[in-house]
């Protein structure tokens, strides 16, 4: 199954990415420069971190719509803990990460304990967490972070943006977990048939709790990098991020019904969306045109992939 899908959806996606790279390089001179591509990597970081864990969430058959709001909430908590409460910045970062993780855990508890469908549970907390962020921030942005903090979002290591190292680390880590560990297997089993997983002694609820908490953690980590990149904290940060992340995951071939999906796919999905956004705008396409292009690519890729993957009966 895994081998097969690498030959199928992920391959198709890879070819589409290559095609997009070639076409965009021809259309826009500035596109295929190292500087531009690395810079695009910076923009890609926040949504990537969220999308990697979102892959796990969707593979279990769930969804997490609250990640954008968790990002906003964590960013505000970071700013407030540092500036208003006077905590040292490293401690404030820890507080922000904990709040994000707890917010994700809370999603998991609503979903597993009270059997609320993930779509509804996280739709509710999407509003709840955003409301909290706005309430705490009082619509004021927070600035003036110390210079060392910008290393995360604006600095580089060995010529490559700092956050890209972080993304690379988490991509490898999540890909490894999903493919090679019992946790990954449990994730697939839950998504493909939750009852059978439970009857097989798999700790279904515990696994889900962990995944939603990880999703919250990823969103708060994204928040910290985001704040570092733009040097400021605002309560509307990360609005709509959930849709970008879900789009990338689904474009990557993860079934919205659960049970199927890979980190490799999500990775290509993320890259494809970002190069389309950037390349098209460099080629002079307006933003509405870019959105249309992204929508079309999503539909086309899934159509082509379905064509090749249509299951024969037997």
């Amino acid at each position: 199954m895994r081998m097969k899908s690498i030959f199928r959806h992920e391959t198709i996606l890879f070819l589409v990415v290559i095609a997009a790279l070639v076409i965009l390089s021809i259309q826009a001179e500035q596109f295929a420069t190292i500087d531009n591509l690395l810079n695009q990597g910076r923009f890609l970081t926040e949504v990537s971190l969220v999308a990697l864990i979102m892959t796990f969430v969707i593979v279990t058959g769930g969804i997490d719509l609250s990640v954008g709001s968790i990002l906003g909430l964590s960013a505000i908590v970071l700013g407030v803990a540092w500036k208003k409460l006077g905590l040292p910045l490293p401690l404030a970062i820890l507080v922000a990460l904990s709040v994000g993780t707890l917010a994700g855990l809370f999603n998991g508890i609503i979903i597993t304990r009270f059997k609320v469908p993930p779509l509804i549970a996280t739709l509710a907390t999407l509003a709840l967490y955003r409301g909290l962020a706005e309430g705490i921030s009082q619509a004021r942005s927070i600035r003036g972070y110390p210079e060392w903090f910008f290393v995360l979002g604006q600095g580089e290591f060995f010529g490559i943006p700092t956050q890209l190292w972080i993304v690379a680390f988490f991509t490898l880590l999540t890909g490894f977990i999903l493919t090679y560990t019992t946790w990954g297997r449990a994730t697939y089993a839950i998504g493909a048939n939750e009852t059978a997983a439970r009857f097989s002694g798999i700790a279904v609820d515990k696994t889900k709790l962990f995944i939603y908490a990880a999703s919250g953690f990823a969103a708060s980590l994204a928040a910290i990098i985001f704040v570092s990149r733009v040097s400021t904290t605002r309560s509307d940060m990360g609005m709509g991020l959930e849709l970008d992340a879900i789009t990338a995951v689904v474009l990557g071939g993860t079934s919205i019904f659960g049970g199927k999906g890979t980190i490799v796919g999500t990775f290509f999905g993320l890259i494809l969306i970002q190069i389309l956004k950037n390349g098209l705008s460099l080629a002079g396409v307006k933003s509405d045109g870019t959105y249309i292009a992204i929508g079309l690519v999503l539909i086309l890729t899934l159509l082509i992939s379905n064509l090749f993957n249509r299951n024969s009966e037997g």
């Binding site: 493909a192 009852t195 059978a196």
Partner: protein
Amino acid sequence: MAKFLMEKINRDVTLKIKNATKSFAGVTVLNNVSFDLYRGEVHSLLGENGAGKSTLIKILSGVHKPDQGKVILENKEFVFNSPKEAFKNGIATVYQELLVFPELTVAENIFLGHTPKTKIGLIDWKKIKADSRKILDSLDSHDLDVNARVGSLSVANRQRVEIAKALSQKTKVLIMDEPTAALADTDVKKLITVVKRLREQGVSILYVSHKMPEIFELSDKVSVLRDGNHVGTFNIKDVSEDLLVSKMVGRPVDKLYPISKGKFGKPILEVNNFTDGLRFKQVSFKLKRGEILGIAGVVGSGRSELAQSIFGIKPSKGGSIKIDEKEVSIKKPKDARNLGIAYIPEDRGTQGLVKEMKISHNVSMANLDREANGILIIFKKEMQNAINAIKKLGIRARNALQLVRQLSGGNQQKVVIAKWLQTEPRILIMDEPTRGIDVGAKSEIHQLMRNLADEGLAILMISSELPEVLGMSDRVLVMNNGTITKEFSKEHATPENVGSIMTQKVKETA
């Protein structure tokens, strides 16, 4: 007069299947199959899982198109493009998995897709309800409320709704795919009456079942398929059960149950006053090493709930479980597994297997954490275990990487068993171990159970098939309405004794 008419009618061919051939992905699943279905006859279709019955049914009901061959309905050749088209032309199908809509009422379900309209084009509710009532009455289902939500009905009643739906249009051919697989004995009897009544009304019935007694009770003719080929069509009067089985399997089958050595060890599982406060109460029994203890009871007697509470899937409210004379606490399936209990659930499709996964992944599922290196899956070991299981249990599959959904029912059940044997259990609970499985695989599973017991495994077997309970068990407990009402030793467990206790003061089913 009536008799004369019947005989005349009987000679009319309603449906002709001519040289039907179908293959999927290069594998021929139906090869040049032809036979005739006469008006007002019950024609049984026999064959092991994978013999091509489902494919044939799907061709007749418009789900698949044949690669070659013809379907001739009343002298007119048809190629159905959709199930709806087949239905409109008078071929209705009642599938094993019922396709009713649980949120709709009985009447709404019956007329879904062809609702009668009033003059101004609104739905004619009066007519829908009246006609539904009429159809249900004709099926002897006077007690079924047309306004009831279908989701609230028993399986047997839901099936009656499906049959009523099939009859809500002028139906010439009714295809029934294992209609009794999920029914309790009393409901089977009712269904048989219904089918006989339909035959009297001139409907031709193509009846698929694994259960020999009902095939002999119902059928006029029987056609046997094996590996996609039509082995033959027989008048039911001219054949014996043994002959049919050997035609199906292609070899003589040992129909007898494997013999118990009658040697048991110490009690390993002791259940005392076990209660869930709802579906079963004050249940006590002991299970010995090497013993097969059968629990007989109708569907709804609390058997499965009891098993699932022992296994930690459903909560219990009182009583105790002892293993090796030590009281244990089981809160979740993993606790049970760690104590050496395995549970083969009654519904392999939803509870037993992840059908979209490979055989190897299913086989390892219950034991993966123990076989892993920390959290790392050892793929080599997983693969080797799967290959060994395929060999040991005789699972017929291309290889260990095949998706479970592509296997036949019997082989799927073997995968579930393999999964739990992987945990090296000492106590094996089997809930309906051979439901919906063909005779060949059934006798293999029975032999396997006896071999495991001889190796010292303690087996608790739940079954609604009385012959299976009586044939396999060393001791029989009868469960009725949530309590164990009687225990029989092997010698005293006769069909009459056990059957009468099983159905005593049965709750009303409607």
